[in-house]
Amino acid sequence: MMSPGSRSLELPLAGRQPAGNSPATPGPFAWLVEDLLWEQRDLTAVERFASLHDQGKVPSQSRYYQDLIPLSKPQAGQQYAFEVDLDSCTGCKACVTACHSLNGLDDRETWRDVGLLVGGTMEQPVVQHVTTACHHCLEPECLHGCPVKAYEKDPVTGIVKHLDDQCIGCQYCVFKCPYDVPKYNKRLGIVRKCDMCHGRLASGEAPACVQACPNRAIKIRVVDKRQVVEDCESNRFVAGAPEPQFTLPSTNYVGKKALPRNLLPADFYQVKPQPAHAPLAVMLVLTQLSVGALATGEFLGSAVGLAPGGLAWLISHWLAFAAALAGIATSVLHLGRPLYAFRAFLGLRKSWMSREIVLFAGFLVSLAVLNGLLVRLPAAEANPFVHFLIMASIFLGAAGLICGIMIYHDTPRPFWAFPRSGFKFLLTTAILGPAGLLLAQVLAAPLMSGADFPTYLQADGRKLLWLILAFTSLKVVYEVSFLRHRWDRTHNPLRKSAQLMTGPLLKVFSARVVFGLMGGVALPLLLLIDGWNARSHGALQASSLLFPFSFCLLLAGELLERLLFFMAVTPPKMPGLGGEA
């Protein structure tokens, strides 16, 4: 404990130990220490002061907010809406903390945010704070996207309410909302959001934020929905905010000051990697592998020497089932409340998420039955019902895959728009399908007499190698070419994504490219060249080991691409703060 040579403590009291972790002989005033510690623990002193009176039903704060909330309920064609007076908002953020406290939110949870806009000219600089919460949209995309109907738009008040007990924690609403409103709560495994304090409004109290704004900048007003639609048509909401047509937000930002054109959110130039959503990435890639292997086997099988009923054929179906099962099982980890995932059929009418889940569930069942029959039935390949199941599986899987594309397309995130998501998802299917078949051949070879994998690769397998090579090249070139957006003239979401991939996510991106090129281009090419060279078959001889390695690289590359798909996206949001908030 005591380092030699250092200054040690000289203590005057005889017999006292220098500082230590345990008390030695108590000092002369140890009794006082005990007394004072006891006194410190006593909280009764406050009781000598009178408690505030119960002042009846009307809260004492109501005198400040009476005129900030509507007197009457909305009529037909109307709803409640926030009105924010930008001239009065000075950015004190009391609204955020009041909402947090009065609604009893978790430690880091906030339903309201205050952002900052800066701009103007040297002579007339402008600093404008913007307070924002849920906009209780006319077309709430959170609600439309929810697979389990955990959202309701109140028919009278228009308040978009989240039903916490219905939520399964899929967080699709987080992807859907352009304003970053639904907040995922890890502890509870659900999303929660602003409900305009509807319980307070119902009994004549103002929402927490309205009660707490020292400058009376936030009000609740009854608005005509037609007016909201008209206002949104103009494509203006508040500077720096996402375009309003997507969801028709009802909040009305007002102010007398004319704001300059060049107002930008203080965090406009910040780019931040988003959550990787690994279970989703795994699910997408594995289900695409599954669908790809099935479809390639069914439609190209005869061209690549895949004999129906043969061991490789059987293994390819087992592989498809295993991949689908693993992928879908992993995706459950994404859910905050997986036990309630069965509710996912509820949103079929509007939610692509719901459709994907239902289709993939069907896909999995169909594959399970199919593989069961393949194991049990002799000469199953000739059974028409088996064939039907194969076609059904392909159909369900492909449909699920397309719903998957639509899930992402149907968000206000251009990085996920149909051409981009579709291209990636379909090419993953096209790359991993042939690769899956080749893998089935590798696995089948030791068990089959008279056939070995190198021989197969020299013959029909070449076609599959060519497919892998072509599709992987195409996909990697496409993904690399995306980086051109880094030089876009405007600082748009795609440019931010490109910045992320060349900045904070550069390592992931590089690994993705290297894995793709190694597993999908270099190694297949090596095997192909080796096949041409009749004298030395070095690589081909090792191909039973080399190809599985190549497959792993490919799979890893696709997984990394899919992680980037989530991490490099730039979600729209309301203006934020500067610095690294």
Binding site: S22, S51, S88, Q166
Partner: protein
């Protein structure tokens, strides 16, 4: 009862609710309940059974917070609706005031460093006290009574400050001790004392609502004192609000006028305004003649400060100054307000007095909606001014005045010899003595010098010269506590009783509503312990409780401008929603105090002749100005309303952390950024002659070209600042120094 009646589930079958659950345990998590006590709805999990009001412990606004108690503990709070200060509102810090008490790095036991090279390790209070008193005694014995000093705070209660001041100076026999109020309010104290004859901010918050012209100098009220800005917005007279600040602050943005003067040119600007007022005859001659002293000399002095002459220096056109003077002249009730932009300057006292002069010349004092008004910083800076026993002898007295010494000794019941006729060194002089090796022992209470003091590198070097450093704080993690040889764990606001005095001189009550962690004791009781271990406990037998001390303090104020002998006790403070000083025994016989009271309604100032002094001095350049090597002015100040000073507390609330950038950023004008090749959001290095920091560039026209702005809440900022002090107030000049900005390679 759950109030969300409309959500009550209609008889749904179990199966149905499994598929479509409209309520359940997760919904209950957020259910609201009638809070009673006039609180409206509150979260069900925090429904109070008792509600009591107390004053907030962050800033000097002195808002009242209604603390919701359940089974004897605070479970929540809301701003008090009927308190005359905050009228039902609070800033984010206030809303989160209880949260920051729960931090894991609360000091819960004493920590002792057994040698300079060993780590801080836990020990018990008995050991801590024994070591502390023996070490300090040994130093005093060897090096004399000036060799141990203390640095106090504006964050503890008046009763605690008084205890600390009396214990150290009358009990332990120390000579030197100062407070962190030196960093925020010393200028106002010096200015008021010299001008009015007593340190007396004359206003009441109602004045914000009664003026028709409000002038804010170096005050970002909307961010630093959001609740006072609320009062401005409640002004029904559609007042002109004029903000004088180099930067387009949030307040400047919200004001009707912004005068963006060059940094450190405020004194010249105020003189030029005065010059116009005199030249145009826009002055209150009657008031000047009857109630002030020194005006004629001032008028003559002003000859050199016409707006035309000062324009080159201030950057403000003569027309603007004349317009400004005209606005003051035409205003019926003009109030002048200042904060740190004025106080933290190299000629701050004269600048504050230049503002006071404007109010005096135009008769804008002592009437509703007027005044030369300093807005204080910390929750109890005003208490410190009266009761810390540092610059002033207890109660607002003078150490060098024998009558005062006798009076205070009598009020405390101690021998008059214990009250030494010696003034303390100021903060920076104490640090100088440490550097010189003359002060060897230091006791730091509830302040974070290692973060907040100017020119940080020099400060850290200075602290390393100490033989024994005791830091008493509620967190063991502050930059200063980490340097300590002994850390004493202190209970925080909300865990103890006492009083604070706010900017408008309102004495408010702090109550004990929450448990302190582990062995943490109130500062009051820590002082009591030190007294006993030191061997001077007998002097403080009457200092049993904070309320007992309050009675003693009352007595020390008798017949002073701050006389509070009319306040009966804590109960009265509680019932009356705080009471402004003065409230004398005689006043109390006339009846309860009125809610809002201002000083000088009788036009009598506290100098013996009853006249205010008009004081002035030739402006001079600051010690460091931009040059070719360091071409930019560095301005510092409050970043957001969610951050407080060195963030020892606000940094503990996850919500407050979300409301402010988590790492240092620098505001820089886009024109300069272009010249320097700094893209928006890029990382840059800011260098001064004393150090460098790395920050993210925030491009904004709100900061003028040639200037940059760094918020003060990040520890790095003070690596750059320049040690210079106002000669009268000895307050550091944080607001300007010369720096250079360099882009960093892409991060």
């Amino acid at each position: 009862m759950n109030s969300q009646m409309e959500e009550a589930p209609v008889q749904e079958s179990r199966l149905l609710s499994l598929i479509q659950a409209k309520s359940g345990p997760l919904t209950q998590e957020l259910s609201l309940t009638e809070g009673n006590f006039g609180l409206g709805k509150v979260p069900t999990k925090a429904q109070p059974d008792f509600a009591t009001k107390m004053v907030c412990g962050f800033c000097s606004t002195g808002c009242s917070l209604t603390v919701h108690m359940k089974e004897g503990r605070a479970v929540g709070l809301t701003p008090s609706s009927d308190y005359p200060v905050n009228l039902g509102m609070a800033c984010p810090k206030g809303w989160e005031a209880l949260r920051v008490l729960e931090a894991p790095d609360r000091a819960s036991q004493p920590l002792l460093r057994r040698s300079k090279t060993s780590p801080l390790l836990p020990c018990d209070l008995d050991t801590a006290m024994t070591v502390m008193t023996s070490r300090f005694k040994a130093i005093l014995q060897e090096h004399g009574d000036e060799a141990v000093a203390f640095l106090s705070t504006g964050q503890i209660t008046s009763e605690e400050m008084a205890f600390l001041g009396a214990l150290t100076k009358f009990g332990m026999g120390l000579v030197h001790g100062d407070g962190n109020t030196r960093q925020c309010m010393a200028t106002s104290v010096a200015a008021y004392k010299q001008s009015f004859g007593f340190d007396a901010p004359p206003y009441t918050y109602a004045d914000f609502e009664l003026s028709d012209v409000l002038i804010f100098a170096g005050s970002n009220l909307a961010i630093a004192h959001p609740i006072l800005w609320e009062r401005v917005l409640r002004n029904p007279n559609s007042p002109r609000t004029i903000v004088i600040d180099p930067r387009k602050t949030e307040t400047a943005m919200a004001a009707t006028d912004h005068v963006a003067l060059a940094p450190k040119s405020d004194l010249q600007l105020f003189y030029s305004i005065a010059q116009v007022l005199v030249r145009m005859g826009w002055i209150d001659r009657e008031f000047i003649d009857n109630h002030t002293e020194g005006f004629d000399d001032f008028a003559a002095f002003l000859a050199d400060y016409s707006p035309e002459q000062t324009a080159g220096f201030t950057g403000i056109k003569a027309e603007t100054v004349i317009e400004l003077a005209k606005t003051i002249h035409q205003g019926k009730r003009v109030s002048f307000w200042w904060t740190m932009g004025v106080n933290q300057g190299h000629e701050a006292t004269r600048t504050a007095q230049a503002i006071i002069n404007l109010a005096l010349m135009t008769g804008n004092i002592g009437k509703p909606g007027t005044g030369a008004n300093s807005i204080t910083g910390q929750c109890n800076a005003m208490g410190s001014r009266l009761f810390s026993n540092t610059t002033n002898l207890l109660g607002g007295h003078d150490f060098l005045n024998p009558e005062h010494r006798a009076k205070v000794a009598a009020a405390l019941g101690i021998e008059v010899e214990r009250v030494k006729a010696r003034n303390s060194l100021a903060y920076h002089e104490i640090l100088d003595r440490i550097r010189e090796g003359k002060i060897k022992g230091l006791w730091v209470i509830a302040t974070n010098t290692a973060h907040s003091w100017i020119d940080q590198r020099a400060l850290l070097e200075t602290f390393s010269k100490l033989d024994f450093l005791v830091v008493q704080d509620m967190y063991h993690s502050t930059e200063t506590a980490r340097l300590a040889d002994l850390v004493l764990p202190a209970a925080a606001w909300g865990e103890k009783e006492g009083t604070f005095i706010n900017s408008e001189r309102r004495i408010g009550l702090v109550k004990k509503v929450s448990l302190a962690p582990g062995q943490a004791l109130s500062d009051f009781n820590l002082f009591k312990l030190v007294a006993e271990y030191w061997g001077c406990g007998h002097l403080f037998r009457a200092w049993k409780t904070p309320e007992a001390v309050f009675q003693i303090l009352k007595e020390t104020t008798r017949n002073l401008p701050c006389d509070i002998t009319g306040i009966r006790d804590y109960q009265m403070l509680d019932l009356m929603n705080g009471i402004q000083w003065p409230y004398t025994q005689k006043d109390s016989q006339a009846g309860p105090p009125t809610i809002e009271r201002r000083l000088f309604a009788d036009r009598r100032f506290y100098h013996v002749d009853g006249r205010a002094r008009i004081l002035f001095e030739k402006p001079r350049r600051p010690g460091e100005v931009p040059d070719s090597e360091f071409p930019y002015w560095l301005l510092t100040g409050r970043g957001t309303a969610a951050q407080w000073h060195t963030q020892t507390r606000t940094g503990k609330s996850e919500v407050l952390n979300k409301l402010s950038p988590q790492s240092l950023y620098v505001e820089i004008n886009p024109v300069n950024a272009r010249e320097l090749g700094i893209p928006p959001g890029a990382r840059v290095r800011v260098l001064s002659r004393r150090g460098s920091v790395i920050a993210r560039a925030q491009l904004s026209h709100a900061i003028a070209p040639g200037q940059i702005f760094l918020p003060m809440h990040y520890a790095e900022t003070n690596r750059l600042t320049f040690s210079e002090f106002d000669p009268y107030s000895k307050q550091p000049s944080y607001k300007a120094c010369a720096v250079r900005v360099e882009p960093l390679a892409a991060s």
